[in-house]
Amino acid sequence: MTANLNLWLIPILPLAGAAINGFFGRKSSRQAVTTVGLFFSGAALAWALLVVARVSSATLPYHEYLAQWIRSGNFSVDFAFYLDQLSLVMLLVVTGVGFLIHIYSVGYMWDDPSYYRFFSYLNLFMFFMLTLVLADNYLVMFIGWEGVGLASYLLIGFWFTKDSAASAGKKAFIVNRIGDFGFLIALFLLIKHFKSLNFDQVFQSVAPMGAETAGAGLLTAVGILLMVGACGKSAQIPLYIWLPDAMEGPTPVSALIHAATMVTAGVYMVSRSHVIFERAPMALTVVAIIGTLTAFFAATIGIAQTDIKKVLAYSTVSQLGYMFMACGVGAFSAGIFHLMTHAFFKGLLFLAAGSVIHAVGGEQDMRKMGGLRSYIPWTFLTMGIATLAISGVPPLAGFWSKDEILWKAYQASWVYWLIGLVTAFITSFYMFRLLYMTFFGNYRGVQADAHGSHGHDTHGHGEPHESPKVMLVPLMILAVLSLLGGLFGIGNRFEHFLAPVFESGAYSQVLGDAASARPMAEDPGGNSMEYVLMGASVAVAFLGWYLAYLLYLKRPELPQKIADSLDGFYEAVVHKYYVDELYAAVFVKPLIDGSTRILWHGVDQNIIDAAVNDAGDGARHVSDEVRHMQSGNLRSYAGWIAAGSAVVIAVMIWMWTGAR
């Protein structure tokens, strides 16, 4: 219906960059690699902006068919891209934040010997993520889904010579896979019942179906299975364990993949499938519960972490929980809004953390930092802005999105709201704790220490120094976005923008009643309540700030005392509630033991090897016996001939009489 937007260029450009850098990067100069890497990701961003400019709401949703893929009976799947408001938002987030992080990485990874490999992987990731976001059907989305998992593995284990990094990469990929299993089964169910994986076709088939309020049905099963996949990819309970370990990767990786984009794929997928979820209230409830619990649970762990990146990792898990909570109560656009603002401030937080780490020569333990704000003022400024944003201090971006979620959650159930509020308090607390421990007080670090714990910083420096401009500029851009990003959502503007996707008449006709049962923000009666809640969340944010100020600036001896008094419980929190140990004992160890004893010894050695060996031995024994036939003795030969001919005669007679 419209001109060709050539959407396919957007993912392909980074792929080209990945290929060029991958094959030729090793022998190329740093400048060449940089140029290629930045050019292709920048080109993707430019084209995305071009697409935005050429598009007006009237022409969306837009389909772009590329090539035929599977045709089997009446089931078919094609390589095709799809653009609507939802994917537009994701597109801009991915290309925009992605490009900024590419720029940042130039500075951060400059001294790394595998510089070219980093940019190759980074571009590869962009390709897969864009494929995921622009997909027209579940299968193309799955390509992107798996691909970003692969890219994540490659990038987490970027410094693969380090054992912990290699293991972290493996852990991420394997846990992801577990989630993917759920995703796949959901896809199979879809194929079986709707004969298609195409978004439009599936949703049109699902639309006439009533909501499964009576009990669990097909849609509930699909919904829950999709959520399992999302739990794996977006690090929710119980599959979140890989994300903290993923901090082994370089900080730009943490920023891009594990804050802004890949982990949000789960939220995007759930939002895209809203048609299914809206008709499966049980699945939605599961989503909401998992999201809420994860948000709270992860936040509590974040309080006691001492590694700056780990705090941010748990914070990410927690914020993702918020997004799922939003989806779970049906406020999909609120979830996406938070996804967008989170990309801004969490990306900023990670990049700034990288700047801090770079400044102190590789140290990541906050207990060895402090008082850095005089050394690295720009980093401090931008990180401060991000902290305000994530804590929900108005008028920054985080306030608007988080508040929207809390408001919608309240309308579903005050329990969600309360837990969300407490989590917001904890969030504010640990973020400001991070800020105070890092930038205020006295510098507790070791000076003139040449090697950082991550080996990327090889120049010894006497005291902390500010990062190069190439790293600071992206920080500043993201800071501006964190400041102003909230404007997107004022007055429900964001919700209106996404309305064609989430409240499109084609899909929600049947739900007309159900939708009106859940009052929207336009509901006049609820407006005052909304302001009350808004005030509550702001109060809570400042409360957290004050508490952090108290414990980490004014009376720094307090935290230790509190920790001692809480003793056992505190230990549990520090050790992340021993979840990893639990998984290791319950799942990992039996699996490895079973595999060793049954598969390795039992099958491989005793059955397969034995079969092969025995076949050989058997052949040898048989031939040993048969050997005796060749005795050179004339008479035995004659004997055999006589016997054989008797057999032949018998057979001939038998056949002859039979034929008669």
Binding site: Q630, G632, N633, L634, A638, A642
Partner: protein
Amino acid sequence: MVPSYVPLSYYLLLSGFLFACGVVGFLIKRNIITIFMSIELMLNGVNLSFVAFAAHWHALAGQVFVFFVMVVAAAEAAVGLAIIIAVYRTRETLNVDQVNLLKL
């Protein structure tokens, strides 16, 4: 009184009997020359069956073939005996069990 007609099967049975004797002799005997003679016995049995069929079907070709068989038997006997003599020279024995150079 000599019967004018002899059932064909008698001739065939006799022929078979001679042949079987030949084979058994081949298997039992240890002296190579005796084994050779058993072969000749087999050939004779076959000859008889040829002639009998020739008479039964009034086909003279059967007798011609007997002629050929005899010729070949003669040639074979000559060569075979020559071989036996040659082997006897090296092995000093006529016992077929001791001529087992073909043993693996």
